[in-house]
């Protein structure tokens, strides 16, 4: 029997990028992907079914990616879920704050699909080994 697919929650407000990242993660990475368009829905989805990893945009309508990460770290069930930022933002203060909140990786847009999958694999491997 096949092992269940690892689930990635992708949070992105750009519809075109949502579709493409889903193809990348499902077809290159072999993950199960759930996609939501804003931070509030991301927290709802994560609380409902805890994902193996959250791939999160920083600039989101309403609640920013940083606020989502902060909220996750304050929620018992989501405290240790690895978070990877995939972002166009380049503000060093945001980077510092994200690291302080324990973000696992920060990837810049535009990204190369294979490198995205490799980075996610590395984060999941580190997490599995307690890193």
């Amino acid at each position: 029997m096949n092992a269940p697919l690892r689930k990635i929650l992708h949070v992105e407000d750009d519809v075109s990028l949502q579709r493409l990242v889903r193809v990348v993660l499902e077809q290159i990475g072999g993950y199960a992907v759930e996609t939501v368009g804003d931070g509030v829905r991301a927290l709802e989805a994560a609380r409902q079914a805890v994902p193996h990893l959250v791939l999160l945009d920083l600039d989101l309508p309403g609640m920013s990616g940083l606020s989502v990460l902060r909220e996750m770290r304050a929620t018992e069930a989501l405290r240790t879920v690895p978070v990877v930022f995939l972002t166009a933002a380049a503000d060093p203060r945001l980077m510092d704050e994200s690291r302080a909140l324990g973000v696992s990786e920060m990837l810049a847009k535009p990204f190369r699909p294979r490198l995205l999958v490799q980075s996610i694999e590395q984060v999941l491997a580190r997490h599995a080994h307690g890193g």
Binding site: Q27, G62, A89, P110, F111
Partner: protein, 221 residues
């Protein structure tokens, strides 16, 4: 939310190089990410299993290349306006008529309802401005508020007139927009070049209010 500005004069933000850079950064990198992802997926031919098709990836690359072209055009437009390379064709105009026409044009059944309250004094909202450029600015502001809002939440527009000022407000109850709205910065530059001001205020959790003010033209001007 502490990481969003609560109130700001858009013309000041338009003039701030860091703000422009942040807006361009977001506006350019997101569609560029889609173009690169679509092309790399096509190159890798990973589509033998279910999911995307070659046609949908080509369509995504094209659509996002067009978005990139539009962003470049917006950016150039802002520079031309800001440096005065494009002259404003200002003339006296009645703002209430302009806003009414835009509301009729932009209202769609699948989008948030646009509710416009004209001034009680009738056709008294006379200002000086470039009608085409003001239409461009207001279309963007009204359209963006409508697009962000859920269909059941109206976008409220109101025009008020005092002795010296004509004030238009656009209020929505939608989530705050993400960064990277070059159209907002361009609107700030256009309003400023028409002698007015554009301010955006955000309520703490959700909902924004745009306040646009122009000097009122005297009767017969």
């Amino acid at each position: 939310m502490a990481d969003k500005k609560d109130s700001s004069l858009i013309a000041e933000r338009s003039a701030d190089p860091a703000e422009r850079l942040a807006a361009a950064n977001h506006a350019l990198r997101t569609p560029l990410a889609s173009v690169i992802a679509a092309l790399e997926l096509l190159q890798e031919a990973v589509l033998s299993r279910s999911g995307g098709t070659r046609q949908s990836l080509v369509a995504a690359a094209l659509e996002n290349a067009e978005r990139l072209a539009a962003v470049v055009e917006q950016w150039l437009d802002m520079e031309r306006l800001d440096t005065g390379a494009v002259p404003m064709q200002s003339r006296p105009l009645e703002l209430s008529s302009l806003v009414s026409a835009l509301v009729a044009e932009l209202g769609r059944p699948d989008r948030a309802r646009l509710e416009f309250t004209p001034p009680s004094c009738g056709a008294c909202a006379r200002i000086s401005g470039d009608p085409a450029r003001l239409s461009q600015a207001l279309s963007h502001l009204i359209g963006a508020a409508s697009n962000r809002s859920a269909p059941e939440l109206p976008v409220k527009l109101a025009l008020a007139v005092s002795d010296k000022l004509v004030a238009l407000t656009i209020e929505d109850d939608a989530p705050h927009p993400a960064a990277g709205d070059l159209g907002l910065l361009i609107a700030g530059v256009i309003v400023k070049r028409c002698g007015g001001s554009l301010r955006m205020e955000r309520r703490p959790e959700r909902g924004s209010r745009l306040a646009i003010e122009f000097p009122r033209l005297a009767e017969g001007a």
